[in-house]
Symmetry: C2
Subunit: 473 residues, 2 copies
């Protein structure tokens, strides 16, 4: 059975992760080193993510556009910090057919330069602002080591790019989009995230401020799962973007960008799944109910038909596994795929007018009268969604440690994982020492509760803030 191919999560987390993905048919490796194939079931999860986020982007006034996939080298170089950050990890196109290009181009690792180049042409007056754009596309970053969904040479993502007349408005946009990511991950992915600001060292190449949502995986390791950047006027000045204000003065606009990727699928898996396979929160699961006839008697078949109608009418996605495999095999398969509910329909249960529902999150079995199936399913899907979030939240919170001495921090870093919440002087040299010595990277400075209550955990000088540190994917 497929679930026997899954390494135990507590034995080897990395191997467990790739086993779960492989056995659930989410991805396949390809002949293209570092690039994965997203298979139908994995892509259906991504489609659900895209649908939910795209609706939110549109609700808040954003429209989608499509920029070129290539960036000429000279264009990438316009903003100094940006090119330094990205040039070492791009794929270079040097030939079109048999002809060498006059200027080589990279496949976009992100599209700030392309958007700025476009903005410069189309923005003339305050009437053109704000520009609220988003793009769904594939980007390329030439990673040396890769892992499905988490670190890949090709990444499916969205990148928002906006331009505003005032600093205030641009900053509000930056935080609005961060909140949209936070809410999406909580409400759809059942993932609690820490929300806050990145340090200068960890911010995006070219940004004035980078905000992040940081999730904690089951093993206590952080996953940066979405970022929102405030650019100030840096890019706009480098690209000479100007607009005529209401007062008829030439001014420089303020800019943001924000993005999240297929990496969220990796986060979903490493938050909820278990030794039996995938566990998907109902709101993002492509299939909510897996119906398994124990034997194909007339009554079983007609009951399933009746239930199907109800599910269809109520927009609850389902599948029927009536293959000739044994019930046990099919139960295991349902667990591997992470269907939130499986429904066993058998002659014995039907004698008392019942079917059996099994929750994927708790493996609890619930006998239910056929006439109550729909409402029970609706309630259970909500309960599962809530339970997954609460379970992840409790685990996450149990692995956040308030730490006051460097020795304690060192001891923590040698253990399994988790986040350390510490006082910090704000100096990059302390941040780097903690990273180099203990492999802990700064996660974020939270919006609330960051007032220091002691001295810097590293140098002992006066702390300016509290901050989270942790290992990261």
């Amino acid at each position: 059975m497929n679930n026997e191919k899954i390494t135990k999560r507590d034995e080897d987390f990395a191997k467990w992760y790739t086993d779960v993905i492989k056995v659930a048919d989410l991805v396949d490796y390809s002949s293209v080193k570092g690039s994965m194939i997203i298979r139908p079931y994995g892509y259906a999860i991504w489609e659900n993510m895209v649908d939910a986020l795209d609706k939110e982007f549109k609700r808040t006034g954003h429209t989608n556009v499509q920029m070129p996939m290539f960036i000429p080298e000279s264009l990438l170089q316009v903003e100094k910090d940006h090119v330094e950050g990205f040039a070492p990890e791009v794929a270079w196109v040097t030939h079109g057919g048999n002809t060498p290009l006059e200027e080589r181009m990279c496949v976009r690792p992100t599209s700030e330069t392309l958007f700025c180049d476009h903005f410069k042409k189309i923005v003339k007056s305050y009437r053109d602002l704000p520009l609220l754009y988003n793009q769904w596309c594939t980007i390329v970053r030439w990673e040396k080591t890769t892992r499905p969904f988490l670190r890949s040479r090709e990444i499916l993502w969205q990148e928002g790019h906006t331009l505003h007349a005032t600093e205030k408005e641009a900053k509000e946009e930056t935080l609005q989009m961060l909140r949209i990511y936070e809410n999406f991950q909580r409400d759809y992915l059942a993932m609690p995230v820490l929300v806050g600001k990145k340090t200068d060292k960890e911010k995006f190449a070219g940004a004035e401020e980078t905000y992040t949502i940081e999730a904690m995986m089951y093993d206590g390791v952080a996953l940066q799962n979405g970022t929102s950047h405030y650019f100030g006027q840096g890019f706009a000045k480098a690209f000479d973007i100007k607009f005529l204000s209401k007062e008829n003065k030439l001014e420089t606009p303020y800019q943001t960008s924000w993005g999240c990727t297929t990496r969220m699928i990796g986060g979903l898996i490493m938050t909820h799944s278990d030794d039996a396979g995938l566990v998907l929160p109902p709101k993002i699961a492509p299939i909510k109910v897996d119906i398994i006839p124990i034997r194909n008697t007339d009554e079983v078949v007609s009951t399933i038909k009746e239930i199907e109608e109800k599910l269809k009418e109520n927009g609850i996605s389902y599948t029927i596994d009536d293959s000739d495999k044994s019930p046990g095999y099919r139960f295991a398969e349902a667990e591997v795929k992470g269907y939130p509910l499986r429904m066993e329909v058998g002659p014995r249960d039907l004698e008392s007018g019942e079917v059996t529902l099994v929750r994927r999150d708790t493996i609890e079995k619930i006998k239910v009268k056929v006439e109550n199936v729909l409402s029970t399913i609706q309630n259970l899907l909500e309960e599962i969604q809530e339970n997954l979030y609460n379970r992840a939240l409790m685990r996450r919170d149990s692995m956040i440690y308030t730490i006051n001495t460097y020795d304690e921090l060192k001891a923590m870093s040698e253990k399994a994982g988790g986040f350390a919440f510490v006082n910090w002087c704000g100096d990059v040299s302390c941040e780097e020492k903690i990273k180099d010595d203990l492999s802990l990277k700064s996660r974020c400075i939270p919006f609330i509760g960051a007032e220091p209550d002691g001295n810097c955990i590293c140098c002992g000088k006066t702390a300016t803030t509290k901050i989270y540190f942790g290992k990261q994917y």
Copy 2:
């Protein structure tokens, strides 16, 4: 006014086309030669196309996947005809960061080789078939001359790739998808298309049979607007894809692929638009009604509010142009953008409880009582959709010529455009002569009415079929 920037269609069709696109804000040129930027209004049209087609693909059992963007050179070379067809026009990636690649890779010009490489790994038994996959993505073809939507280095498209146990099933799939394209273009884009088979010379590199839908633009020039290929076992054999049949024998499956692209937006424009700008069929238009208050009196504002509610409730998209520009300017802008209906709401009309609707297709003005606005809009949108189709069909049919002599064919080729329906011996040398001498390329052999009724228009030998010829984009 923006419509004054549009060259007259009958003066210079090519310039008219690019003017319409530019003035309606569909695309912008970029610093990346040969690549265009699809702006919000253009991308919204594409999103509507994607939505409608994706629903049809899913209804017929297809699922979406995502393959790598790159193809290693050795993989592209596996199928001989295929590499010959595509290698001269691909973009080559030679470096990742600062490191030269061991093997260069092209950006996919199409993904047959990637799908085959994957199929080989995942197909084992007849139980795995049919595989019905589709991919929405960007492809790259290194075109020398480009034109927005029609011929671009980067193309947004979908490519379906399917694998079947039998020849019969694969052939049915090929034709089913062609019909889906045909119906979509008729029902949504209001574009009549000729449906048929490509000649051997014009078929896809590696296909056994290529089917096409051929639209005729306003200027009589053909646009190949979607193709569906039957591959037989060619790719499967080259890639050594095998499956165990029900009878436990190792067999080679049969394959199809099919695709359509953003080029359809170009087709839409060159079929329906006019000297005043874009004309969009209601079923694909991102905005159906443009509401223009003539003056912002209380009654105008409250009437618009009332109408808005009705439109919202009934899912009819609209925009309100209450800018400080003159009514005339805003009317022209509505025409430039091709909104199917514009609604003028002014104090004078309201005295008799009316508003004015103006059809974009006929510029006809219709006074309508406020209480009848919704039903009138619904009826008019249907009428416009139908009228655009019928108008295009009549024009198309009036430019299809049944031609019996080479002299007549020559005379036609020197005129404006149109399709010639001629007898053909089936020999590629005649097809090439017509192309080289007269710049007419074979379009397709229709499914119905292709029985020859004379001798080959070129060599005079016995004809084996009738076939369409025409100039093409």
